[in-house]
């Protein structure tokens, strides 16, 4: 019944809301070599936000960037951005699923929707990272991912532009790694590490 996934898929999940946009831009600029993993960015966006992020970010990296469509298989060395007005779910078959179910924390896409589905998919999660934001979205998903034994990183609320989101994640689970100032080098080594 449940299809077995491609074992080589390894996900890096990044979630953020207000105050995270420029961090995501900086992270993209780090990506100057092919990746062994697939990167998924979930950024809170308004329903009618028309800008296509791969277009907007084109100058930052040579790597392939996509807004996944329903049922697209997750491919290595590709960077994905959740589209507005749909949750981006990750299936056990290694495909993306779009879902226009209720909002979580007034958000669609919601970070929890993606993170929780990834945690439950059985796919390998190389790392999950959560940044600045004004809601508590993502905290539950981060906890679930950490409890499955995967690595989780949360921006230090004190250095985050908006503390609420990272603070909520730490409140729900105290053992996340904390990303302090000048964390971009650390993120680069996470993304390019060979360990899984």
């Amino acid at each position: 019944m449940i299809q077995k996934h491609d074992d080589s898929v390894s996900l890096v999940l990044l979630g953020g809301s207000s105050g995270s946009f420029s961090i995501f831009e900086e992270i993209l600029k780090l990506l100057d070599r092919p990746l062994q993993c697939s990167i998924v960015f979930v950024l809170h966006r308004g329903k009618s936000s028309l800008s296509e992020l791969p277009q907007l970010f084109r100058s930052y990296t040579q790597l392939q960037m996509e807004e996944p469509q329903h049922l697209d298989p997750i491919v290595k060395n590709c960077i994905y951005f959740a589209v507005p007005d749909y949750h981006l779910l990750i299936g056990p078959d290694g495909r993306f699923y779009l879902d226009n179910d209720e909002k979580d924390f007034f958000s669609r896409p919601s970070i929890d929707a993606t993170f929780v589905s990834a945690a439950q998919s059985g796919l390998n999660i190389k790392a999950a990272l959560l940044f600045s934001g004004a809601s508590e979205d993502g905290a539950f998903g981060m906890k679930l991912i950490a409890e499955k034994g995967f690595k989780t990183y949360v921006q230090n609320p004190l250095t985050a532009e908006v503390a609420r989101m990272p603070a909520a994640a730490i409140r729900q689970y105290s053992k996340h790694h904390i990303l302090n100032e000048n964390f971009f080098e650390e993120i680069r080594s996470i993304l390019y590490s060979y360990s899984t």
Binding site: V83, D99, D101
Partner: protein, 273 residues
């Protein structure tokens, strides 16, 4: 806050139970979305898996409620206003040439989309020779669709959508208010037939110049989706139009070659072979 999450194995168990008790078969539905909704159901009703199992085993309304929550019924009149603008300019202008126009709204929820089409057909002068078949698998939403009653709160959103879709009048010209609710005028109902049809089990029942199946495909898994595409394809007359929801494309349908794209962003297609 979420306290409970289901695992995929448990979901398979629930799917089996629901089928056993009610006959309703979720096996063709996309697992990640079902898992999300079933977990949401547990949280909302503060249940765990064993309580859910007993709840399902009660049968009757209990299992029906659960099925209802797993199949999303959310809809709006003139949902995605731009779609209706394109429908008028690119599709209806073509349908004009037919003496009778048969349209199928597959997965019609409480009738929002069917009424929107009726209004659009009226405003383009095509309504009197049109017949809209609007189907769904839920008796409950069909009953409410037949009544054509909507809350005034929802009507406000629908009115905004209608104006954005360049409607020619005011939406309030198409309903009257009774007991604080909006009731669609009987004239709109005249050429709409609401009936039960399960896209995963029932077959072709007519030939259509246009099939609109929006925000339904997204609930099916890859194999089921291909079967439903086959059903829709076979229900369309040659050069008939297929309308899908925003972000729902023909990708992975198996019928990519049989349609030409009328509008790529709004997912309007025409059958060409």
């Amino acid at each position: 806050m979420r306290i409970m999450t289901l695992e995929y194995e448990e979901l398979e168990f629930i799917i089996m139970k629901v089928k056993e008790v009610s006959g309703f078969d979720f096996s063709g539905y996309a697992r990640p979305s079902l898992l999300r909704r079933a977990s949401g159901y547990l949280v909302k009703h503060a249940m765990d898996l064993s309580e859910l199992t007993s709840h399902i085993e009660l049968g009757g309304n209990s299992v029906y409620d659960f099925i209802q929550e797993l199949t999303v019924n959310y809809s709006e009149m003139f949902r995605d206003a731009e779609f209706f603008i394109k429908l008028r300019s690119e599709v209806f202008s073509y349908l004009e040439s037919y003496p009778t126009i048969r349209l199928w709204v597959a997965g019609c929820a409480s009738g929002e989309e069917a009424y929107s089409l009726a209004i659009l057909l009226k405003e383009t002068g095509l309504y009197d020779r049109s017949l809209i078949y609007a189907t769904d698998l839920s008796q409950r939403v069909l009953a409410s669709a037949r009544q054509g009653v909507f809350s005034l709160g929802n009507m406000r959103t629908f009115s905004e959508n209608y104006l954005l879709s360049e409607g020619k009048k005011s939406l309030s010209d198409y309903y009257h208010v009774a007991y604080n609710q909006a009731v669609m005028i009987p004239d709109l109902r005249k050429n709409i037939v609401f009936s039960l049809h399960d896209l995963t089990g029932d077959g072709v029942f007519n030939e259509f110049q246009m099939v609109s199946c929006r925000n339904v495909m997204i609930y099916f898994n890859l194999e089921q989706r291909q079967k439903v595409f086959k059903l829709l394809y076979e229900s369309l007359a040659m050069f008939g139009f297929l309308c899908l929801g925003k972000r729902e494309t023909l990708r992975y349908s198996g019928f990519e070659e049989n349609f030409r794209i009328i509008n790529m962003h709004l997912n309007i297609y025409q059958k060409i072979k």
